[in-house]
């Protein structure tokens, strides 16, 4: 396609006239983006493609010979009970953790949005502090908090006459315990929602109040649509992070506890933990690569579905 600019015919690419200035701008854009582009190719895309190749081999880093095994690793996944178990645990966690963390984060952000003055800064910091705590420390901390015998959580439940469960050793309660732990770090999501709430024009609320809208109506018809972009973003990001959960659970159930008695059984076996075990404890890197690609496929499918569905619900300013 071409367009006439100042009497000259100029090509149009993607709706943008392809002038000398445009080409000049593109060079600068590419120059400034190059560190990321190079990093992506070398550190992400390259290794990903390499593991795709490895997933069709029996690659073991301490074996001198690597053989091509076709789809054997993928076929093995179908028969491996750990794959199904760890996928179930991971998806169970994701399905509960994502909406819960979004709901609590939204509640906290709405509260923050109503607080003014000096205390606002304090609460913003307080909500965010858990996010700067190292994941290993969080795992260790929750080993103490969730202890069925002397933990704070069961202590609080006991205050209300409830005999708390064994969060760490009863397979039924292990995943709920992990979900409680994960809610400790909703600060990131709170900050995103808080920023989105600040961008909602106050005139809309004023107009709604004049029209007699209740607080719930305002929340449902103004707040939620106006921050739906942020809600969708955190929905996608939190889903991906949940499917990749590793450090905290590894610290709680597999790190220093390796080889020790645990009542958790298979309930704490999450997908990336199993992948790690296959890759770095028994050195089946080829199989672990296939596991990594299955996780990638699962995340990709879920994300595509989320994006498709979001078109009906997400409002972007300027659309």
């Amino acid at each position: 396609m071409t367009a006439g600019i100042q009497g000259r015919e100029v090509r149009v690419i993607g709706g943008v006239p392809w002038t000398r200035n445009t080409r000049q701008d593109l060079k600068w854009v590419l120059l400034f983006l190059s560190p990321w582009i190079i990093g992506f190719i070398v550190l992400t895309a390259g290794p990903m493609l390499w593991t795709l190749y490895l997933s069709f081999t029996n690659y073991n880093p301490i074996r001198p010979v690597t053989n091509f095994v076709g789809i054997e690793n993928y076929a093995r996944m179908l028969k491996d009970p750990h794959v199904l178990n760890s996928l179930y645990n991971t998806i169970f966690y994701t399905v509960l953790h994502v909406p819960l963390s979004m709901g609590i984060a939204l509640l906290l952000a709405l509260m923050l949005n109503r607080i003014g003055g000096r205390s606002a800064g304090f609460f913003r910091t307080a909500f965010y502090i858990p996010n700067v705590t190292p994941a290993v420390a969080v795992g260790t901390l929750f080993l103490l908090l969730l202890n069925g015998n002397s933990g704070v959580i069961n202590g609080v439940l006991g205050f209300f006459g409830i005999d708390g469960p064994s969060w760490l050793n009863d397979p039924t309660w292990v995943k709920p315990g992990i979900i409680i732990m994960s809610l400790w770090t909703v600060g990131n999501t709170v900050v995103i929602y808080f920023a989105a709430l600040k961008n909602v024009p106050l005139e809309m609320y004023e107009a709604a109040r004049i029209d007699g809208a209740s607080a719930w109506d305002q929340f449902r018809n103004i707040t939620v649509p106006m921050i739906s972009g942020a809600l969708f973003f955190t929905f996608v990001i939190n889903t991906i992070a949940s499917l990749q959960l590793f450090t905290e659970v590894y610290t709680m159930f597999f790190g220093a506890q390796q080889g020790q008695s645990s009542g958790a059984g298979d309930a704490a076996e999450f997908y990336v933990i199993y992948l790690f075990h296959e890759a770095f404890e028994v050195f089946r890197m080829g199989y672990a690569s296939a596991l990594a690609w299955l996780l990638f496929a699962v995340i990709l499918v879920i994300t595509v579905v989320q994006i498709r569905v979001s078109r009906r619900f997400v409002y972007y300013e300027g659309e």
């Binding site: 290794p47 069925g148 015998n149 958790a264």
Partner: protein, 464 residues
């Protein structure tokens, strides 16, 4: 380089989601401070060693007095060797990365139960050349420790440390329960089960004292051995997790736990112990008896010197004393550029004189800090004899003096983990198998059958 690319590339992708596994300090060598070196070991033929050396799996700067003194002995003996210590414990992931790098380790300090895995893949050299050059007498090591590092008749590493397990009995709990520790027959599993029920103490359905803690899954091999079996064949190539001896041991030990109440509450209670502190489970009368590594005597002596304990050997069903041992080892990495320096280092670190120097430094440090110390269990019999004769004096702590004697008396009855290509996978399968039974998720037969299949799979996939 061709091998380096896939290792590094795949690690980048896989580790991106996983993160590193923190190294666990070895409680055997817990302590701190540095000491002046004690000179070269006289028992070895000196080597002409010089140049650079990279030692993986050993921390000098953050190491305890035992580690630092031994490294100082080497520095004094071989001042022309410039050693770079990895300053970390052994981790498979980091070691694999180091092997793939241009600056690969010359020597490695790794747990003995991992030797079989790396030997199977040709990563380590046999130590026969090094032994020939230095005249090192490998018979100074306990037989079980030698077996841990011997594959197809060849030794691949020099053993270091010797952790053994014996019963630690809390005399106060036994007295409360009306049981005489000396008359309880630990070879009689029915008698242990009966004592367990007398020793356990509850407040409602809450456990306030554990009767007998069988320490499973970690010590399952000990129970299986006592039951006349073994969890793995001697060559480390066949899993025996589904043998009748193993299944019976799993059933018996998990029943010991279940007889004390809900296993989840039992485990929760155990997790509340002040294990390394002054209010530990013995001092707080929260345990009857349990098999435990000997380094724990040092914890008790230093933190609760007044506890009343008896140490007795673990017994087979026919009354023979046995113990499960493990520890670390020093090995030479295949293809090292500096074999003489590598040999000098690995032999010096485990030589009798070096251990004695380290034990002496530790004793002086303990005296300076007015703390008792129950000795270093080096894995070197000659060194142990000198150490416990000259540098361990517990005469003013008769309970611990008797405990240490009981440990030493059982040292020779040890067995270890056979060197297996799939040691890590085997241990995971065994742990999962026992824990499934403990959590009520499966019967011993079903769970150990699945564990056996997974363990064998791990062995086969790493076999040469």
């Amino acid at each position: 380089m061709r091998r380096a690319v896939p290792i590094l590339v795949s690690m980048v992708l896989l580790l991106a989601a996983c993160g590193p596994n923190a190294a666990t300090p070895n409680p055997t060598t817990a302590g701190g401070g540095s000491q002046p070196a004690s000179g070269p070991p006289a028992s070895l033929e000196p080597l002409k060693a010089e140049g650079k050396l990279f030692a993986y799996g050993f921390a000098y700067k953050t190491g305890d007095i035992i580690a630092q003194t031994r490294a100082d002995v080497f520095k004094d003996a071989y001042p022309d060797v410039d050693v770079t210590w990895s300053e970390s414990g052994f981790e498979d992931q980091k070691f694999l990365t180091a092997l793939a790098s241009s600056d690969k380790p010359d020597v490695v300090n790794m747990p003995r139960n991992k030797i079989g895995t790396y030997v199977a893949q040709g990563v380590l050299d046999p130590i026969s050349d090094c032994v020939g050059k230095t005249g090192f007498d490998t018979n100074v090591f306990y037989e079980a420790a030698r077996n841990d590092v011997t594959v197809d008749g060849q030794m691949y590493a020099f053993p270091e440390f010797y952790n053994t397990r014996n019963w630690i009995i809390n005399n106060k709990a036994f007295e409360d329960a009306g049981i005489d520790p000396d008359s309880l027959d630990f070879s009689d599993w029915d008698a242990i089960a009966a004592a367990n029920e007398k020793l356990v103490k509850k407040n409602g359905d809450k456990i306030t004292r554990i009767g007998i803690d069988p320490k499973i899954p970690e010590f399952l091999p000990l129970w299986v051995k006592a039951n006349g079996g073994a969890v793995m064949s001697d060559d480390g190539l066949t899993s025996q997790l589904d043998s009748q001896e193993t299944i019976d041991a799993v059933k018996y030990t998990t029943d010991l736990v279940k007889a004390q109440g809900d296993p989840t509450k039992w485990l929760d209670f155990r997790n509340t112990w002040d294990f390394f502190g002054g209010k530990n489970q013995v001092a707080s009368n929260q345990i009857g008896a349990w098999p435990m590594e000997q380094w724990y005597l040092n914890v008790l002596a230093q933190n609760s010197p007044d506890v009343d304990i008896t140490v007795k050997p673990f017994l087979t069903k026919d009354g023979q004393p046995i113990t499960l041992e493990d520890g670390n080892s020093w090995a030479i990495v295949s293809g090292t550029d500096n074999p003489d320096a590598a040999c000098a280092l690995v032999t010096t670190m485990v030589a009798t004189d070096t251990w004695v120097a380290a034990a002496k430094a530790r004793q002086e440090d303990a005296e300076k800090n007015n703390k008792p110390q129950t000795g270093v269990y080096s894995g070197n019999q000659e060194a142990d004899q000198i150490i416990f004769d000259k540098y361990v004096d517990l005469s003013d702590m008769p309970v611990f003096e008797a405990a240490v004697k009981a440990v030493l008396d059982n040292q020779a009855n040890a067995f270890g983990w056979p060197p297996s290509p799939g040691a890590a996978g085997f241990q995971t399968a065994m742990t999962d198998g026992v824990n499934r039974v403990l959590s009520g998720g499966a019967t011993p037969e079903d769970s150990m059958s699945r564990a056996n299949q997974e363990a064998q799979d791990a062995i086969d996939s790493n076999a040469p």
